[in-house]
Amino acid sequence: MATVTVPAKLKKKDGTLVLTDRLVWTPIGLPKPECDFPLTAVTNLQRHPAKPQLKIHTTEPFLFAFNSVADRDVIQEAVTERKQQTPTPAAAAASASTTSSSSTSFTRLAPDDKELLLDGALQQNLLDKSPALKQTFMEVVIKTMGTASQITTEAFWSTRLSLLRTAALESRQHRGGYNVLSTIKPVMVNQELKVSLPHEKIADIFEQHPVVRRVWSGCVPPMSEDAFWSRFVQSRLCKKLRGQRITQTDPTDDVLDKYLRLEEDPDERSAKRQKTGNASNTSDAPSVPKFVDLGGNEANLTVSRGNAPDITMRPDRMAADAVGGIRSLNRISMRILEGMEPVDRRTGADKDELYREQIVLGDLRGEKKEERVLLNVTEDEARGRKDNDTATVELRDSQPATTQLVHGLEGEMSLADAVPDPESLTQTFTSINTLITSQPPPTSTHLAPTLPLPPHLLSTLTMSHAATTEFLKHFWLAFLRKDYKTAGAMLEGLRRTGDRVDKLVEAVGREGVSGGEGVVRGAMEGVERAVGRAVEEYERVVGAKS
C-alpha cells in the first residue's frame, strides 16, 4: 500500500502527516515524530463540518488541521480503507492466494466445523430430508429445552458433523467452464427432434453468448419460448456460434438470420483492434493506443514483401466459412478462461524453486527408491512363538503316549461302557437340547427382522430407543472428558427413559397386543443394561470423589 504524505498542523504547529500502516506526524524541521501510533489503535474519526480538520481518536484525541478539504478527505479515506483491511490478521497475510476474498472461493469449499454448526439452513435441510433424524431431534433437543438434562442443538449436531459436511460440500461445489452449445444435441424421438434445455443451460448460454440474450429479448415477446429455442437450435446463427461452417444447404430463418449480420460485428471490432495492435483480443477490454507497439513489432512478418500471411492471420478478411468458425471458437475459449480463477502465483521465495523444477529433466531422473520402515522381527517372533517353547517339547514327548492310546483302542468296545449311569445320560441330553433350541434360527441378512407390534407403537418404541441412545452418547462424551456435571445432567434424562418405557408398555397393554409387554421389555433390554452400566460407572467415580 502506498504511503500518503500530507502537510498538517497539530496544536498550531506545522508538520507532515505520513500514513503507512502507522500514522506518524512529524513537526517541520524536527527529526523526531511527535505522535506515532498504529492504525489499529484508531477508534474513531471525526471530521469538522466547516473547517478542513480531522479529529482522530485513539487513547487520546488528536486534532489535525489541513490546508485544504481535499487533503483532509484523502487522509480520512486512506485511514478508513486501511482500517477495514487490517482486521484480518495473520491468516490473510500468510496465504498468498488472492482467492480467499472472492465469493466463489474454492478454499472455503471444505467448511470447518464452526461454520457447519452455525449454519441453520443446512441443518434444517438435513432434518427435512430424513424424518427419523427429525424425530430424534424433536425428542432430544426440543423436548429437553429448558430442563437440566438439556442437549443443545450444537451438541446434537457436533456428533453428526460428517453428515453436515457432506451436505454442505455437495451444495457448494460448482462445475468448471464448458462450451455450452456443443452439449446441446437434439435427439430424434418419434420422428421429432427434441432438445432438453434446463434453466441452468439457458443461463449458461446467455452468459457465454450475449448475442443470444439480445436476440431473445428482441424475439420472445412476439414468439413463444419453445418456438424460439426450437428455431434457434436449428438455425444458422447457432451453427455460427458453435464455430461450425455455414453451408448453403442450411435452413434459413428470416427472424434469426438478421442477427447473423449482428454477430459479425464483434468480429469486426476485434479485427480493428488487431490492426491497431492491441494485445488483449477480448471484445470487452478497452483498446489502448500505443506509441510504439513492441509486441506488434515482434510478431510482424513483413506483409509488403514475400508471402501474404495465412488466411487465418489476415485481420481484414471477414467472417466467412472456416475463419469465422475459428474466431468464434477462440472467443468461446477466451470467455471460459476469463471466468476461471487465476492460477495461483507463488511468492517470490519460491520462484527459484519454480524455475529449477521447470528446467530439470525429471524423466531422466530414474525411479525414486521408496522409503520403507523395516520391522525387526525374527521368524519365530512373527509366528508368536517364544524361545524355549515348552509346549512343543511336550509335543515331542507325547509320541509314546499317543501310541499307547492307540493300542488301547484296539479290540471290541461297547458303547454302554462310555456312560456310567442313565441319569447323567438324560441330563446331558436335556442340556444339549436346550442349547440347540436356544440358538436363534439362522436368518438371512437381507430380511430385516421386525417385532410383532402395530406400526405406530413400533415407531414410538424405535424413537424412544434412539433418544435413549442419544442421551447415552452425550453422557459418555461428557464422562470420558471428565465433565461430570454434564454427565450427571444426562443421567437425569436417562432416568426418564424408564418412565417412557413404562408408558409404552401401558399403551401396548391397552391396545391388546398379545405378549406385547414382553416384546417391549425385551427390545429395550439391551439399552437398559447400558443405562444401568452408565449409572454404575458414574456413581463409582462421583462417589469415590466425594
Partner: protein, 449 residues
C-alpha cells in the same frame, strides 16, 4: 492360429535381423541358442508354442501354459515392512460420458461397477478394521454414493443401484478430490488416508486450479492411486507422483480386463508407511464376546431387533456386528480374528525357492498334498514348465511342495504347512542333517504298529 489377424507376422518373420524380439517380457525364456542382441533373434510367434501332441489334443500344452502362469503372480517382495493397517480409503469412480465406451464388455461403467463390488468384498476381507467411502464424478461435479463406514453390504447395495444410470458429462478431478479431503479430514493420525480413482476420461473439467488442490492433498498426507482406463493423462501422473512422494507406481493404465482387475486389487494390500513415527501411539480397542438372548432386543447402532449381539466392554451397549465403532462411547470394537487377518500383510510368508534337479531326489511327493513328483526331467524341449523339477522348497523347513500348494499357501493360507508342523528342535535336526544325509525327510507318516 488364424493368420488373418497376424498378417504382418508371416512376412516379417523372414527377415529376422530387423525384427525386435517382442516376446521377451511376456513369453518367458529367451532362446538360449542364439547369442548376441535381442533383435537378431527370430521373432517369437505365440501361436507356434501351441502344438498338438500325438493324439491331436491340446490339453497337455494348455496345462503346461497354465502351470507356467501360476507362479508368476507370487514373486513379490516379502520383507516385513511397517504398513498402515487401519485404512480409510475413498473410492472415486468416473461416471462421465467416456465411460459409455464399449471397449470393455459390456461397457466401461458396467465392468467398473462389477469390479468395484469385488474390490469392496476383497478390501474388507483383507483389511477388516478399515473403512471405505465411495464418490462418483458426473456432470462436472462430485456425487456422494456412500458414506465412509465399515459395512460392505451397504456399499455394494449403493453401487448396484447405480447400474441403471447412464454416464454423462465430464469428470472433475478437483471437485472429487476436495470432497475426499473433507471426508478424510477427521481421520486420526494412526489411520491411513487414501484415495483410489478409476479414471476413464482423458480430461478433467475443473472450476479452479488443480495444482492448489494437489498441494493441499500433500499437506493433508492423503495418498492417491489412479487406475486409468484409456491412456496416460499428465495431470493424473503428477497427482500420483506428488502425493506418493515421487514414486511412479501409484498410477497404472490398463491393458485389458484382467490387468484392470489386477491393478484395482493391488490397492487391497495395505500401503507401506514411509515415515517413521516418533513414538508409537497406543490405540484403545474393545474385544466383545457374543451373547445370545431369548427375546430379541434392539441394537444400539441400527435399532434392529436381534437375539444375538456383542456388548461393548466399556458401556455395555449392544451392537449387531463387528467390526464396529460403539455408537454410545466411541470405542473401536473388533474380534481378534479381524486383527489376525491383517497380520499376514505385516509378516508375509517367504517365497519358496524352486528346487533344481540335482537336489530333487530328496522327495518323491509333495509334503502337503502327497501329489507325486516327476522323478526324471522330460527332455522333449518344446513343452514349457516341464524343464523345472516341479518342486518348491521352503527356506525355513526345507520341505518340498508342488506348485498348487505353493499358490494355495501364498495366496490363501499364508502359512507354510512344513514350518507349522515341525517343532524348533526338529527343525534344527533337519538343517543339521541336510548335508550328509540324502534320505527322504518328506512325507513321513506317523508310525503305528
Amino acid at each position: 492360429m488364424s493368420d488373418d489377424e497376424y498378417n504382418f507376422g508371416d512376412s516379417a518373420a523372414e527377415d529376422d535381423e530387423d525384427i525386435l524380439d517382442l516376446g521377451n517380457d511376456s513369453r518367458g525364456k529367451k532362446s538360449a541358442a542364439a547369442p548376441g542382441y535381442a533383435w537378431e533373434e527370430q521373432y517369437q510367434r505365440s501361436w507356434d508354442v501351441v502344438q498338438e501332441d500325438a493324439a491331436g489334443s491340446l490339453a497337455g500344452v494348455v496345462a503346461g501354459i497354465i502351470e507356467a502362469g501360476k507362479r508368476k503372480r507370487l514373486l513379490k517382495d516379502t520383507t516385513p515392512i511397517q504398513r498402515g493397517i487401519i485404512r480409510h480409503l475413498i473410492l472415486v469412480l468416473d461416471f462421465s460420458s467416456a465411460m459409455a465406451e464399449k471397449d470393455l464388455r459390456p461397457n466401461r461403467q458396467e465392468l467398473t461397477i462389477t469390479y468395484a463390488c469385488d474390490f469392496i468384498t476383497e478390501y474388507f476381507e483383507q483389511n477388516p478394521i478399515s473403512q471405505l467411502g465411495i464418490i462418483g464424478m458426473r456432470n462436472g461435479v462430485a456425487v456422494r454414493i456412500s458414506e465412509v463406514h465399515g459395512n460392505p453390504q451397504d456399499h455394494i447395495a449403493a453401487l448396484q443401484a447405480l447400474r441403471k444410470q447412464e454416464p454423462s458429462g465430464d469428470p472433475s478431478l478437483q471437485n472429487a478430490l476436495e470432497m475426499c479431503r473433507a471426508s478424510l479430514q477427521h481421520v486420526p493420525t494412526h489411520g491411513t488416508r487414501e484415495v483410489l480413482i478409476v479414471f476413464g476420461a482423458l480430461l478433467s473439467s475443473d472450476p479452479g486450479d488443480i495444482h492448489k488442490t494437489i498441494r493441499n492433498l500433500v499437506q493433508d498426507k492423503i495418498r492417491v492411486r489412479i487406475v486409468g482406463l484409456a491412456a496416460q493423462v499428465a495431470v493424473c501422473a503428477e497427482l500420483c507422483r506428488a502425493t506418493n512422494g515421487g514414486s511412479n507406481s501409484a498410477y497404472g493404465v490398463i491393458l485389458n480386463e484382467h490387468h484392470f482387475r489386477d491393478l484395482l486389487f493391488e490397492a487391497t494390500t495395505p500401503p507401506t508407511q514411509t515415515t517413521k513415527k516418533a513414538a508409537s501411539t497406543l490405540i484403545t480397542m474393545g474385544f466383545p464376546s457374543r451373547a445370545i438372548e431369548s427375546v430379541p432386543s434392539l441394537c444400539a447402532c441400527h435399532s434392529i431387533p436381534l437375539r444375538t449381539g456383542y456388548s461393548c466392554p466399556r458401556c455395555s451397549s449392544k451392537v449387531c456386528s463387528l467390526p464396529m465403532e460403539c455408537p454410545t462411547c466411541g470405542l473401536t470394537l473388533v474380534l481378534s480374528t479381524h486383527l489376525a487377518r491383517s497380520y499376514h500383510h505385516l509378516f508375509p510368508l517367504r517365497n519358496w525357492d524352486e528346487v533344481p534337479w540335482d537336489k530333487a531326489s530328496k522327495s518323491t511327493s509333495c509334503f502337503a498334498c502327497l501329489a507325486p513328483f516327476l522323478t526324471t526331467p522330460i527332455t522333449s524341449g518344446k513343452e514349457k514348465g516341464r524343464g523345472s523339477s516341479g518342486r518348491f522348497a521352503c527356506p525355513q523347513c526345507g520341505n518340498h511342495f508342488c506348485v498348487d500348494c505353493d499358490v494355495f499357501a501364498h495366496e490363501h493360507l499364508h502359512n507354510c504347512p512344513g514350518c507349522e508342523s515341525s517343532s524348533p528342535a526338529r527343525k534344527q535336526k533337519l538343517l543339521a542333517a541336510e548335508p550328509e544325509n540324502g534320505a527322504t525327510t518328506n512325507g513321513d507318516a506317523m508310525q503305528i504298529d
